[in-house]
Amino acid sequence: MRDEISVLVGGRAGDGIAEAGMVIARLYNQLGYCLYQYLDYPSLIRGGHNFAIVRAAGKKIGAHRDGVDYLLALNQDTIDRHLWRLNEGAVVIYDSDEVKAPPAGGTGLPLKSFVREAGAPPIARNVGLIGALSGAAGIEEEIVEKVLRKEIPKYIDENLEVARRGRAGIEERGDGRAERRSYPCCPVITGNELIGLGLLRGGLDAYVAYPMTPSSGVLHFLAGVAGEFSIKVVHPENEIAVILMAEGFAYAGKKTAVGTSGGGFCLMNEGMSLAGMAEIPLVVLVSQRAGPSTGVPTYTAQADLPFVMSAGQGEFPRLVIAPGDAEEAFFWSATALGLAWRYQIPVVLLSDKTLSESAYSFNIEEARDIPDIAPVLWDGEGDYQRYASPEDGISPLAFPPRAGAVVKANSYAHLPSGITTEEARAIERGQDKLLQKESRLVEELASLKTVKVYGDPGSSTAILCWGSNKGVSSEVGEELGLRVVAPVVVSPFPAHRFREALQGVERTISVETNSTGQLARLIRSYGFEADDLILKYDGRPFTVEGLMERLLEVAA
């Protein structure tokens, strides 16, 4: 038996591909597997080619493979595009009502007819494939029924009938009972949903966003649970309004986050600088996609690191966090709110399409111990000064209406009272105050896991990676016996921790989804060198085989 399984399901946009992928993931979840789903779709509503690759393994994974064991095709295009992926002994199942040039050895099922005969909606063809897969893979019918009942809200009996017909059409090919694994049965959930849940766990009061792929999943998720968590979710006229509105929320004492991608973040730059100067706590999710400009909206990239690190005029403290997996997405989203409010700074959560829209098995037990970082609040003594300047630069917060406190936020250089100044000494003092906060932030970060190490910690060759590339890098690093060093906090850069993680390393290879090696450039300014770069900038994430091949080339 194989120790892991990959299933590709493909069709047109509107065929329910993502949903089919999630059902397949939940089936294997019931069998004790760890899941990862990669979703590939073009920027259109109907037509085109969508596919999902669901990978199930007995160990923790965070990447997909090129090769698949099951190819489930709703149309000819899926067959034509993905036949190269078939592993030895792979099973191909397709809709014979659609596929006119079937591959040898595949199993055709008249899915359109199944759906019509069962009285199910046309989209239920995907359920026919799932039924067939369950037969071919030996997944018990009870498990299929249990998962479908949970996942499909409407026409469930008709859908179950389609699944039964699919299963009956393939039963004879079944290769016995599917192997069980012992990975804990975890929620299978997208990075965007985990970012939303992490923010909620951190005490989020409001979320403000303008739709932009691949960040919109957070907006949709939070709008959906706004009632349960009693939070305010607002979709304003543009991203400029988004960040300014969020700063209004924060001024009034509400923990607020915003979300966007590169183009929307361009519009937020003036708001970033305002948050820096006026000391407004704010969490800004930037989920990267392939650019420049409109670029490739539904595909991935890690090309905005220097942009988010320097966005906004002037010099002000900020924190940039690039979570690399499901647990980090949750943990750091919650922690980001605490840090934003303690230090009264903008915090960027830097994701990308891969982390945001892929689905992962999320083990909350690996994301525990979220630090309780509380804001510094005014004690009500004496005259309130919004920008009072204690030694650590952190001014106590008060929120209107508060009798006796006049709270004056200001985008101009200002006095402790919040009144504008152009005095040389006062300007300098104001800037020093901002820098003091940054020093304190750096001290606080020292107690958090800002740099992670995977693979063989004794290896003298290290893969360097950040963000979503951690999943594929740690898996390949492990397999090749290499050390993998992944900074999670990228600004202020945890140089001390990074140096410790690289102790004994003689050679470094930076793995990045961009064309210039942005992490490599960043670490150079701290005196570290990336000896080799493995870069990918075709909008697609690294696969396990793809990175393995590139690493072997570089290592040779």
């Binding site: 975890c186 909620l200 300014l244 209004g248």
Partner: protein, 284 residues
């Protein structure tokens, strides 16, 4: 509380003869009176400004304030109001600020009927950047960026706000301070988006005192609840011709406000971890 209690120690740097003084001197007694009468407690007032000569009012008022950035007072004010509907949020904005840089926000505030007051210091010129045309400058305006004279006509902001769904639309003039106070008071108490375009004279770059003194008149026997009459009166002067310039409240109507949609979303969940775990069960 006396109006003078609302002043600060900041040195006033507006030019002599600037119409901004009238707005500052009008808002102080209005807010002092509303506080004294127990209608709007002074600590519930939040002033939000953009950037321009008008914005300095944030420094001159001993009130909660958010001195924001150019064109962006309105989204900040919207966030504050949604965060805490008990606050009384007043935006002081400029004409370049609200009608050019931040026009999108102004239209959306009117469309949403968010309960904030917007007072536009409309001097029809950029003052702080020393004399360029704004969206309400008359055609032919000879500014530093249009030395040959402005080729295009101004917008009529009152009509714009009306078309956007505004529920309180008024005009004031910095040289008619009693009427201005009355209008501001009404605007602050309006339940919804209250918009006041104040003809405020820039004595240095566009001195219109003579023309405004001759042409302005207070609306009387006008029914602001009648939208047809309101539009007629708004069109009486197009910010370009030499027609009569009505002052006062043109239009007023009752409508649900934006914050009503969020009223029930304000409670703290006691067990966030438990609630998160409950949601996660749906993903198994």
């Amino acid at each position: 509380m006396k109006p003078q209690d609302l002043g600060t120690t900041a040195q006033n740097t507006w030019c002599p003869g600037c119409g901004n003084f009238a707005i500052l001197n009008a808002i102080k007694p209005v807010l002092a009176e509303l506080d004294g009468a127990g209608i709007v407690p002074i600590e519930n007032v939040v002033v939000v400004t953009g950037i321009g000569c008008h914005g300095k009012i944030a420094d001159y008022l001993h009130l909660n304030s958010f001195y924001a950035i150019h064109g962006r007072a309105i989204p900040v004010a919207t966030g504050i109001k949604l965060a805490n509907p008990d606050l009384n949020v007043i935006c002081f904005v400029g004409d370049g600020d609200a009608y050019a840089e931040g026009l999108d926000h102004l239209i959306f505030a009117a469309k949403r009927n968010v309960e904030i007051t917007t007072i536009v210091h409309d001097n029809r010129v950029y003052g702080l950047t020393t004399g360029q045309y704004t969206p309400t400058s008359p055609s032919g305006f000879s500014g530093r960026s249009t030395p040959g004279g402005l080729e295009v006509s101004p917008i009529n902001p009152l009509e714009l706000i009306f078309a956007s769904g505004g529920t309180f639309i008024a005009r004031g003039y910095s040289n008619r301070i009693d009427l201005l106070k009355e209008t501001m008071r009404e605007a602050i108490l309006h339940r919804g988006f209250a918009f006041v375009d104040v003809l405020q004279v820039c004595a240095t770059f566009f001195n219109m005192y003579d023309l405004y003194n001759r042409r302005t008149y207070a609306l009387e026997e006008h029914d602001p609840e009648d939208p047809v009459l309101a539009q007629e009166r708004m069109r009486e002067w197009d910010y370009n011709s030499e027609g009569p310039i009505p002052l006062g409240v043109f239009h007023r109507r009752a409508a649900p406000t934006f914050a009503d949609n969020f009223e029930d979303k304000n409670s703290k969940i006691p067990d966030l971890e438990g609630e998160v775990r409950r949601v996660l069960k749906g993903y198994i």
